[in-house]
């Protein structure tokens, strides 16, 4: 999986390409931790090229969501139907801010 980060006025856009599963989730977790350590508060995920998400991937998203402070924000955009289905089944669609 490729993780592409671009920053714009303190807002970090994270584009994920490929599969977010057990093997790739730790990589994303490390990247996100680094961003939070830098004091980044706003995350903007682009899931347009994300093909698959496993429970390990969900765990990282949950970690990210829980790390967002009240003055920050985390948005997920361009979620494909198959990923959306996972979000809906697991109830993640209720706690994540998903914008189509």
């Amino acid at each position: 999986m490729d993780i592409i980060k671009t920053e714009n006025e303190g807002k970090v856009k994270v584009t994920l390409v490929g599969r977010l599963d057990t093997t790739t989730a730790p990589e994303l977790e490390t990247e996100l931790k680094a961003l939070f350590d830098e004091g980044k508060k706003e995350l903007d995920f682009d899931f347009d090229q994300l093909e698959y998400i496993s429970s390990a991937g969900l765990r990282v998203l949950l970690f990210a969501q829980k790390s967002i402070t009240p003055d920050g924000a985390m948005v997920i955009r361009n979620v494909k139907p198959e990923i959306m289905e996972v979000f809906e089944i697991t109830g993640f669609s209720d706690i994540l801010t998903i914008e189509q």
Partner: protein, 805 residues
């Protein structure tokens, strides 16, 4: 203009052009040119510089100095092998034809060859020794020195039959040309490196290779060795040369001395015999008259007792010859000896009076005659006139005979003979001892001189320093050149030997090590070229073997621990079927296949009272030991709450709260839990983010059970779960599973998917619960066809058979 200054100016050209060209090739416009174009362009430019070097040579000490060789060296060492060769050939070939428009003919062959050779040397070193990189300036400088040395040796080699002239060129050229060319190359390389350094700030230079390091250290050792052997050689040559000069002068002087002695002795003896003849004819001849007649100083007649009976000098009469050392020598004439001549010296009676005596037998005694100095020298000057004329010392050395007043009596025909004062060495003569070499300026030529006094004359040998020192100088130069050449070759040889013996083996070891660190622990390092590498290879192999043992040991331990963990986990799941052989109201079957030894999926079912069947399927995020531990915890919590007789929604709400507590690892699970009232068929259930179950009504097909799922368990505190319910009729059946089923992946990364599952389950809907679960699992296995699976697979089927009475 000062010739040294012009030479330096000429040497500055390759330096400037090197930096400018280098900068140009680094610039945007320059870097657009192809490598080949750059190389050829550089070669031609430096070829032209080499030609300029020939055309604008600087005359110095009778030879023409040039900085031609610096150009191919700069081109080859800084730019590329090809450039070096082109520049060398251009410079060398042009030098060959340059004789037609004024260049020196004598060194034509040597200069042409060595310039071409220089280009090739630069090319080979650049390619093979510096791997295409720009060498360090000390290297460049040393290469410059060695190439110019080769140039000098070539002058000798191409003029073997005329070593003297060749040496004249070499002596004049060596120091200026070697230093100018070597400095030009060294400075050019330094300037280019400084340019690179200033433009690439922050970029640290690569560490030198081991071969290069050895070579660098060797240079220091070699320079010390070179200075030591060169000075020792110089000292030795000097000693030999002085000894040879001394011997040559002495031998020649001794010859001349012999000649002088013979001539003088003969002259006096002749007079003596004439006097004896006169006395025999007329014994009463007045001796004083006779002295005047023969222009001699003294005539004595000695009787058989050694007493002077008659003399030209009355004072002598009655003198006993036995009473003085000088006189006593003549007493041999009283024996068998016919005549005797004594060297010119002080007389016995008065040591201030110098005379030369001879004696010839007369009656029973002898007659003694003597020259005094004035008469002697006048007479002898004529006699000795030719002694030195045809004598020479070495090729250009001369012999001079000087009388006691410093007047030259005889001299080699190569000289102008005047008074010794014109040689400006009369004082030297007075200061020096006989047979001792001293240096004096003779007719404007520095010369080694030596003298010996004989018969009151000084016989002086003169050998110009140039001739005397020639062999010393030539052997010293040749020694130094050869040493430089040998040291240069040694440096190159050491570099390649190191590369061959050490570096290639290190690379092989590194390659094998890379395979080992890449995970292939069965790689054997087998570099056995020498003792050190055998020991290194063995060391690595032993280490790897030890590691393999340790890994196997660790694996063994982990394996056994995992086996235990697996047993514990699987024994925690109800696995005896039929599970409730005494109950006929329902049929239940479940299976769980972990992707690894232990998994995060689990199922559970139990009767909390005789009318209520509780069944659960859950999936913990992650896999392996952490998931298994979290799974055991979750299973216990869910069962504990289930036995508390509260609603399924409350069970999830409480369990969620409980699981969130101290969940630092951020683990969570999805779960589906149902309470089936066996008397009414009512199924109350809650879904915490789990896959929707499939439901089949009696005689119908399996369809997904719709309804909004709740959030996962353990993810976030304060979630409130909702309970849903539906009524089951006898014959209705519900199928639960985890995402390991629908996300089973084949080699093409295709997922098993919902559609395939529905199709498969409906194909097997008429089988009993156990058979159906097995059939679905078999279908999944066929689907992924051996491709590795990353998720546990769990299935559970519950069939409501009849109402409980």
């Amino acid at each position: 203009m000062n010739p040294i200054l012009s030479l330096v100016l000429i040497a500055v050209i390759p330096v400037c052009i090197s930096v400018l060209l280098h900068a140009f090739y680094k610039s945007q416009r320059g870097s657009k040119l192809s490598k080949k174009t750059q190389d050829i362009m550089t070669g031609i430019i430096f070829g032209l510089i080499a030609i300029c070097g020939t055309e604008f040579g600087v005359p110095l000490n009778g030879a023409v100095m040039n900085a031609r060789d610096a150009a191919p060296l700069c081109a080859g060492l800084i730019f590329s092998p090809l450039s070096g060769i082109i520049a060398g050939l251009m410079g060398g070939i042009e030098r060959w034809f340059a004789v037609y428009w004024g260049a020196g003919y004598y060194t034509r062959l040597a200069c042409s060859i060595s310039t071409c050779l220089t280009g090739f040397i630069a090319a080979i070193l650049k390619k093979e020794m510096f791997d295409g990189e720009i060498p360090g300036w000390p290297h460049a400088f040393i290469i410059g020195v060695i190439c110019e040395t080769i140039h000098m040796i070539m002058i000798f080699v191409t003029n073997m039959n005329d070593v003297k002239t060749a040496f004249g060129f070499v002596e004049a050229c060596t120091i200026p040309m070697v230093s100018v060319n070597a400095l030009a190359v060294g400075v050019a390389v330094l300037a280019v490196s400084l340019y690179d350094y200033s433009t690439n700030k922050g970029e640290t230079a690569e560490k030198p290779s081991i071969a290069m390091q050895v070579q660098r250290n060797l240079v220091i050792v070699i320079i010390i060795g070179f200075i030591a052997t060169a000075s020792f050689g110089l000292l030795l040559q000097n000693q030999i040369s002085i000894r040879e000069t001394e011997d040559l002068l002495r031998l020649n002087i001794e010859d001349a001395v012999g000649d002088v002695n013979t001539q003088v002795d003969e002259a006096l003896l002749q007079v003596n015999e004439l006097v004896v003849e006169e006395l025999k004819d007329n014994p009463a001849y007045n001796l004083r008259t006779l002295c005047g007649h023969y222009n001699i100083a003294e005539i004595d007649v000695i009787d058989g007792n050694g007493i002077i009976t008659e003399s030209s000098d009355d004072l002598n009469i009655g003198f006993d010859m036995n009473s003085g050392d000088q006189a006593r020598e003549f007493l041999v004439l009283l024996g068998d000896t016919e005549n005797y001549v004594q060297d010119y010296g002080p007389i016995s009676r008065d040591s201030n009076v110098y005379r030369k005596y001879s004696g010839v037998k007369y009656k029973d005694g002898f007659v003694q005659v003597a020259y005094d100095s004035k008469e002697f020298f006048d007479e002898m000057a004529v006699k000795l006139n030719n002694v030195a004329t045809y004598r020479h010392i070495g090729e250009t050395g001369n012999l001079v005979i000087i009388d006691d007043e410093g007047k030259i009596v005889s001299y080699s025909d190569g000289m102008n003979g005047t008074k010794i004062s014109s040689f400006r060495m009369s004082s030297d003569l007075e200061d020096s001892k006989e047979y001792t070499v001293f240096v004096a300026n003779v007719d404007g030529v520095e010369s080694y001189c030596m003298y010996k006094k004989a018969q009151g004359f000084a016989i002086l040998g003169i050998l110009p320093c140039n001739e005397a020192d020639f062999s010393k100088k030539i052997s010293t130069y040749l020694n130094i050149f050869m040493e430089m050449l040998v040291f240069g070759m040694l440096l190159v040889a050491i570099y390649f030997l190191m590369k061959m013996l050490v570096v290639s083996d290190i690379r092989r070891v590194n390659g094998l090590l890379a395979r080992i660190t890449g995970g292939d622990l069965d790689t054997v390092v087998n570099v056995r070229t020498n003792k050190e590498f055998i020991s290194l290879s063995n060391g690595i192999n032993t280490t790897v073997d030890k590691l393999k043992d340790l890994i196997a040991e660790a694996n063994e331990r982990i394996d056994s621990e995992l086996r235990y963990a697996k047993e514990i986990q699987s024994s925690a799941l109800p696995s005896v079927f039929p599970a409730f052989p005494d109950r006929n109201e329902f049929d239940i079957y479940a299976l769980m296949v972990p992707a690894r030894e232990v998994g995060g999926d689990f199922y559970d079912f139990y009767l909390i009272d005789k009318d209520t069947l509780v069944f659960t399927v859950a999936d913990v995020s992650g896999k392996g030991i952490p998931a298994a531990l979290f799974m055991m915890r979750s299973k216990t919590i869910l069962k504990t709450y289930a036995e508390n007789n509260i609603s399924v929604a409350d069970i999830f709400t409480n369990a969620n709260y409980n699981l969130c507590e101290g969940n630092d690892a951020g683990m969570f699970l999805t779960a589906w839990m149902g309470f089936l009232d066996l008397k009414t068929g009512e199924l109350k259930y809650a879904n915490a983010g789990h896959n929707r179950p499939l439901l089949r009504r009696k005689d119908g097909s399996f369809e997904f059970l719709s309804g909004p799922p709740g959030f996962i368990l353990g993810g976030m505190e304060g979630i409130v779960y909702k309970e849903q319910s539906l009524m089951l009729e006898p014959g209705d059946e519900i199928f639960l599973y985890t995402d390991g089923v629908v996300e089973a992946t084949d080699a093409n990364k295709d997922l098993y998917g919902d559609d395939r599952l529905v199709e498969c389950i409906n194909a097997h809907k008429d089988e009993d619960v156990m058979q159906m679960c097995q059939s679905i699992y078999d279908d999944i296995e066929i689907f992924y066809n051996g491709a590795p699976q990353f998720d546990d697979i769990t299935e559970m089927a519950v069939k409501f058979m009849r109402y409980k009475q």
